[in-house]
Symmetry: C2
Subunit: 208 residues, 2 copies
């Protein structure tokens, strides 16, 4: 995994400003996301995280119980933000709603690729209790997208033989942007959102 | 990341039988894939790998120069196998060829999910020289899929405004199966292949 770029770091700090206070707790969480992205969860120590945040190792434990707790907070906030992004899209027309949802979700995974990778690839390191909390958020995200597919099929805007399978593919497509997106690549996050919204509508439209 | 399941381990041993000899070298490579999947590349030592393979730490260096060399071999063989899988599909009709390619590539990423995750997520840990070798294999895989899209557009079987973008999405969809696939889930690797072949053809077909 590549290092958390300065741009994503700044965006993250801004995006998490209200969710995590005081500043020291947020700084530590961003340092943890950076360290996990660079070395992987298992190779990272709380000492590494403290050093990146410019704090003492003991300071970590003022705000977090453990390294796993830091991963959990990153994962929980990441999933909550995704869900909020999806539920903010309110277009009554299912095709418009799907296009806006895919555009937002795909471009978010480009913008916050490093954090998204940590969240997606280190799920197995969460404690069973924490994993259950994140799994519940994931179910809500999945249900949200499935409902748009179902609404579209009901209205005749979409036609798919396997609605769950189509919803799964739509989510997977957006999430995997975090794996391949490069900030120095050909497409901006917004352009990827537009491309993907178009491709998903093509995939779901009724056969001619 | 979850532990390499016994079924995938057995499949891998079988699949890599001709590519890696002697048996001890192959056993070590599979042990390395397991260890990287469990703990991440950076948290794994050659001692861990030797212990998993039931060999002495010194035995690792008979076959591999370093831990990074093990990762490179896994990555190289994984990419070579993917490419071979794709080039084996020979249907002259672009739609048939795309369907068979997507079915094979998606189901392969379900079967070999743990290995695929290591290969995809630890690319950043390769040395620049090794990264260049793998990047060249990735370019061949991308070109292969792009050519099918181009052939389909030329024949009128497909209609997409952004051919590179469509090829990127097709590959991304298949590769991300390795992230979400669970052997105890609702769909078999073959069923995922069938579902994805259908969705991709829907995505690429001409507008009504």
């Amino acid at each position: 995994m590549t290092s958390l770029g300065e741009a994503e770091f700044a965006l993250l700090d801004q995006s998490w400003h209200d969710a995590i206070t005081p500043d020291a707790a947020r700084r530590m969480l961003i340092a943890a996301a950076q360290a996990f992205a660079d070395k992987g969860y298992h190779a990272t120590t709380t000492r590494d995280i403290a050093a990146r945040a410019g704090m003492s190792p003991a300071a970590v434990y003022i705000h977090y119980r453990s390294k796993e707790d830091l991963l959990f907070q990153i994962s929980k906030i990441g999933h909550e933000r995704s869900l909020k992004l999806l539920t903010a899209v309110q277009d009554p027309d299912p095709a418009d709603r799907m296009a806006a949802t895919v555009a937002a979700f795909a471009s978010w995974h480009a913008e916050f690729r490093t954090t998204a990778r940590v969240v997606q690839y280190e799920l197995g390191a969460l404690s069973p209790e924490h994993h259950a909390v994140v799994a519940e958020l994931r179910r809500k995200i999945e249900t949200h997208v499935r409902v748009i597919v179902e609404d579209g099929v009901r209205s005749g805007a979409f036609q798919v033989p396997d609605q769950n399978g189509a919803a799964l593919a739509v989510l997977s497509l957006c999430i995997d942007v975090a794996r391949w997106y490069r900030p120095d690549g050909k497409r901006t996050p917004g352009e990827i959102g537009g491309l993907y919204a178009d491709l998903v509508l093509r995939m779901l439209r009724p056969l001619g």
